[in-house]
């Protein structure tokens, strides 16, 4: 039997051809996967109850990711299958749940970690402050990508026009770019960029447009999302981490929130993208 905690944060990857679905599609796939599994997901109240699933910042259609997150709530009132219970969970239960969930997700979507939440955490959208993208691009004209990046980083302001509440507004996206570097590749260049999400996020397309209209996007992978706490950043769930809420008597950060570099490297090598 798998005992699930009332609140769970799940980490998953979305790679391969399934990356061409939208964020809405992704959410619907998780809803259906939970139903196929008979997982006792808590439903919302109201006229048309739906399972309570909350995701981190939307992944663009076509974008791959090795670090996607999802908060899900379970409710003992929803238990219909003897394989599941809701209560005091264990690392073993979470591992078993991750395996079972991965089995009903499409090829290319795999659960890589899960930690219990105690309910005091910020939502993923609020908590995630920074994300890293690796973007393969090709430019049809000079200058080279690294020159363009240097120019961009040297400027104080990069303005983009957006629509907000039906009105055109102008935003400065320079303040979203924390770090941006590039390496030459046979096709063009691989850009590694850390983007800040607050107070307002930035779309990958906006960033690429700022680099030049001749930029062709070949591949993009979100490799990290980080929560910023007291100047230190950590991942909402590190790869390979399965942990229940640490009993109050013990240290708070030991198991759940410690990164596990070796598992992460392993995962990296398994990329099927």
């Amino acid at each position: 039997m798998i005992v699930l905690p009332p609140r769970l944060r799940v980490r998953y990857v979305r790679v391969g051809r399934v990356r061409f679905i939208s964020q809405r599609d992704t959410a619907r796939i998780f809803e259906r996967a939970m139903r196929r599994l008979h997982a006792p997901v808590k439903y919302s109240e109201g006229f048309s109850p739906h399972p309570i699933l909350s995701f981190s910042a939307a992944l663009p259609t076509g974008g791959a990711s090795e670090a996607e997150y999802l908060d899900v709530r379970f409710d003992s009132a929803e238990v219909t299958d003897e394989r599941f219970a809701v209560g005091e969970s264990s690392e073993m239960s979470l591992r078993a749940f991750a395996e079972a969930l991965s089995a009903v997700l499409p090829v290319g979507m795999v659960v890589t970690g899960a930690v219990e939440l105690d309910g005091s955490e910020l939502s993923l959208q609020e908590a995630v402050a920074c994300m890293r993208w690796e973007v393969d691009v090709r430019a049809s004209e000079p200058p080279t990508i690294d020159v363009r990046i240097a120019n961009l980083m040297a400027s104080a302001e990069i303005v983009v026009e957006r629509q907000r509440k039906g009105r055109p507004v102008v935003d400065n996206i320079r303040e979203n770019i924390a770090v941006m570097e590039s390496d030459a590749t046979p096709e063009g260049a691989r850009i590694t960029v850390d983007l800040l999400t607050h107070p307002r996020g930035i779309r990958l397309r906006e960033l690429l447009t700022a680099l030049g209209s001749d930029i062709e996007l070949l591949r993009a992978t979100r490799t990290h999302q980080w929560i910023d706490q007291h100047g230190e950043r950590y991942e909402p769930v590190a790869v390979g981490t399965f942990a229940v809420v640490t009993p109050p008597a013990l240290s708070e950060t030991d198991s759940a929130l410690t990164r596990s570099p070796s598992r992460e490297r392993e995962q990296h090598e398994q990329r099927t993208d």
Partner: protein, 645 residues
């Protein structure tokens, strides 16, 4: 040949809705090919969102992949942006299962359910690199098949396809596979010989073995070019749906599609006898799925797919014997179907049916749709859709009383014998329904949706010349003006010029193939999509081939004229159809033969079958076609063409 994925992947960044092209659905397969397999590529000639939920293709996909001697994969029409990228990069039409090119398959089989998709079929054949015309294909070229409701007049498509398959596909796909495997084993490479062998399979029509003859705008006959070609091709009918519990795996898409829910077919056929309705004529007799199997399929389907909704599908689901028992059982937690919403997509117009719908509707009651089709009782007698006004008012009253706030009413205009009074009757019905709704709530809305009638082959109205787009537009204007002052009533209509173009293929002869080819070469793909359609393109093509809408769509056929589908049979006797036409003119109703004596339409007797229903009595409630409350007045001759020979 191997996967084209590496070529396809880079262009997916640049197209709208790339998930249309990636496959990977729950229930999908990547079949391994083995020596000697016949490899099928089943195709829907419209976008992925429309094609993926098609139950017919899903059934064939599974049946063929369950066989040892066949494989089956799927493809859909790439949208305009994707087609442009594919042609630019030299990528042919491909399967979404293994990304193999279409011309590496033995058969490319299209489901044609709507005539306006024909130009997409041409485009997809061309995108495959297969010769567009069947006559230009050699022994090694992929065979192009069509199946589905439109094949009851396949003549406009005759020059492009190797074969059209009539009726249910479950059994015949296996027979086709076996015949092709045999000729391959024997080393046959002569296309004509292959055609002749295909033509021996009941239900398979090979147009290349026939030559129609014409005189002016009329067809005068059809000649057989080989003695092995049968004089009449009869449709295929699966008698016992219980033997075919498909789909078994189903396909759950990764992205948005229409009808995104579990669909379980509860019966085929319909004997309500609506005279305009091709589906109700060509799919006779009625064959119900056993009740326990329906429940089993729902239970297994919910378990497998993760859907939270199931639709019980058929041409008129409220007519299924014991529909209430089945629904009650599905919704009983003990049945193990889980948290499930049941929807009945085709409601009969009576209060009893609404009561059933209300009992199963969970959550918000948003809108309910009824299809009275005709605006006056006279009109409904002509079309044999025998819904009394009392039925309609009771049904809508029940709907509003149960808490529904939006009611949608479907009507046809351009029906035989239609007068302006019949057209205005539509607004009158709508107005009364608004009044009924306002008793319950001020904010209710009633939408009247009108479509232009297109006469279909193998129906009692197959001889009738359809209204011109101008005449349909005039009637729409009448409706719009009359409804302007009715608060709470909105009138919507289907583009009359699209109905005109549909008519070209609906009853057109083989010469319409050249017209279709011109429309396609002129850029006319996705003609079902308003933004892609212009009637001018069709008029240009017709004119270039010496035809006009007047000579094709709008022309009444004479009874002694050889209709282009005269050698194809859905089992119906021609004199039954003509008799029904005369009854229409006489405004005389014909009852539903499930519960009244057989009037020998031909479907059962020709096929040596009978209705396969669980209950010998008519469903409770409502008068529609059940013989209750039929107010048959003295037949009146209306003096409308077509005339008897």
């Amino acid at each position: 040949m191997t996967s084209l994925w590496n070529d396809i992947e880079p262009i997916l960044w640049r197209v709208d809705k790339p998930a249309r092209y990636i496959g990977g659905e729950v229930g999908s397969l990547e079949p391994q090919r083995h020596e000697g397999n016949i490899n099928w590529l089943v195709a829907y000639p419209d976008t992925y969102e429309i094609g993926l939920p098609n139950t017919g293709l899903t059934i064939l996909y599974e049946i063929l992949n369950d066989r040892d001697d066949a494989t089956c994969e799927r493809t859909y029409a790439p949208w305009v942006d994707m087609e442009k990228e594919m042609r630019g990069a030299g990528i042919p039409l491909f399967s979404v299962d293994s990304f193999r090119p279409a011309n590496s398959f033995d058969i490319l089989a299209f489901n044609v359910a709507a005539e306006l998709t024909y130009t997409n079929v041409l485009n997809m054949i061309d995108l495959s690199g297969i010769p567009l015309h069947a006559a230009d294909r050699g022994g090694d070229d992929t065979f192009v098949f069509i199946g589905g409701h439109c094949t009851y007049n396949p003549e406009p498509m005759a020059t492009f396809v190797d074969a059209a398959v009539l009726g249910d596909g479950e059994e015949v796909v296996g027979e086709i596979t076996a015949v092709m495997a045999t000729w391959r084993a024997e080393g046959v490479t002569d296309r004509h010989e292959m055609w002749c062998r295909l033509a021996q399979i009941p239900g398979v029509y090979v147009p290349g073995l026939y030559r129609p003859t014409f005189e002016g705008e009329r067809q005068t006959g059809i000649e057989m070019l080989d003695p092995r070609a049968p004089a009449v091709v009869e449709k295929r009918t699966v008698y016992d749906l219980g033997q075919w519990p498909y789909p078994r795996r189903g396909l759950v898409p990764l992205t948005d599609v229409v009808h995104d829910r579990l669909n379980v077919e509860v019966f085929r056929g319909c004997t309500r006898g609506c005279r305009f309705c091709q589906a109700g004529m060509i799919t006779r007799p009625v064959r119900e799925r056993p009740r326990h199997q329906v429940v089993d399929m729902v239970r297994a389907g919910m378990e497998r797919t993760g859907y939270d909704e199931v639709a019980l599908t058929s041409l008129s689901t409220a007519d299924y014997s014991g529909i209430e028992d089945v629904v009650t059982e599905i919704m009983d937690p003990a049945a193990g179907c889980g948290r499930v919403n049941v929807s009945l997509p085709s409601l009969r117009v009576d209060a009893f049916t609404v009561g059933t719908a209300a009992a199963i509707q969970q959550g918000r009651k948003s809108g309910l749709t009824f299809a009275p089709e005709g605006g006056t009782w006279r009109m409904r007698r002509v079309i044999n859709k025998l819904i009394s006004e009392e039925d309609l008012y009771a049904a809508t009253d029940a709907a509003f009383a149960q808490g529904w706030q939006r009611v949608k009413l479907y009507f046809l205009i351009g029906l035989p014998t239609e007068t302006d009074e019949d057209v205005l009757g539509i607004v009158e019905l709508g107005r009364r329904v608004v009044e009924i709704g306002r008793k319950y709530r001020r904010s209710i809305t009633v939408t009247v949706s009108v479509g232009g009638f297109v006469p279909k082959p193998q129906t009692p109205f197959q001889w009738f010349g359809q209204d011109s787009p101008d005449e349909l537009q005039r009637k729409i204007t009448l409706l719009r003006d009359a409804s302007r002052d009715v608060k709470g009533l909105s009138v919507r209509w289907h583009d009359p010029s699209a109905s005109a173009a549909e008519g070209v293929s609906s009853r057109g002869d083989r010469r319409m193939g050249a017209v279709l080819e011109r429309v396609w070469r002129d850029g006319g793909t996705f003609q079902e999509w308003g933004e892609m359609f212009t009637l001018e393109r069709w008029e240009r093509a017709l004119e270039a081939e010496g035809f006009s809408l007047a000579s094709v769509s709008e022309r009444d056929r004479r009874r002694d004229e050889c209709v282009p589908w005269a050698h194809l049979s859905a089992g119906l006797h021609e004199d039954f159809l003509w008799g029904e036409w005369e009854s229409a003119l006489a405004e005389a109703g014909t009852e539903d033969c499930r519960w009244t004596p057989c009037y020998d339409c031909g479907a059962c007797t020709t096929l040596s079958l009978e209705h396969h229903v669980a209950s010998p009595t008519a469903p409770a409630g409502g008068s529609q076609g059940t013989g209750q409350g039929l107010d048959l007045r003295t037949p009146v001759s209306l003096g409308v063409k077509p005339v008897s020979a």
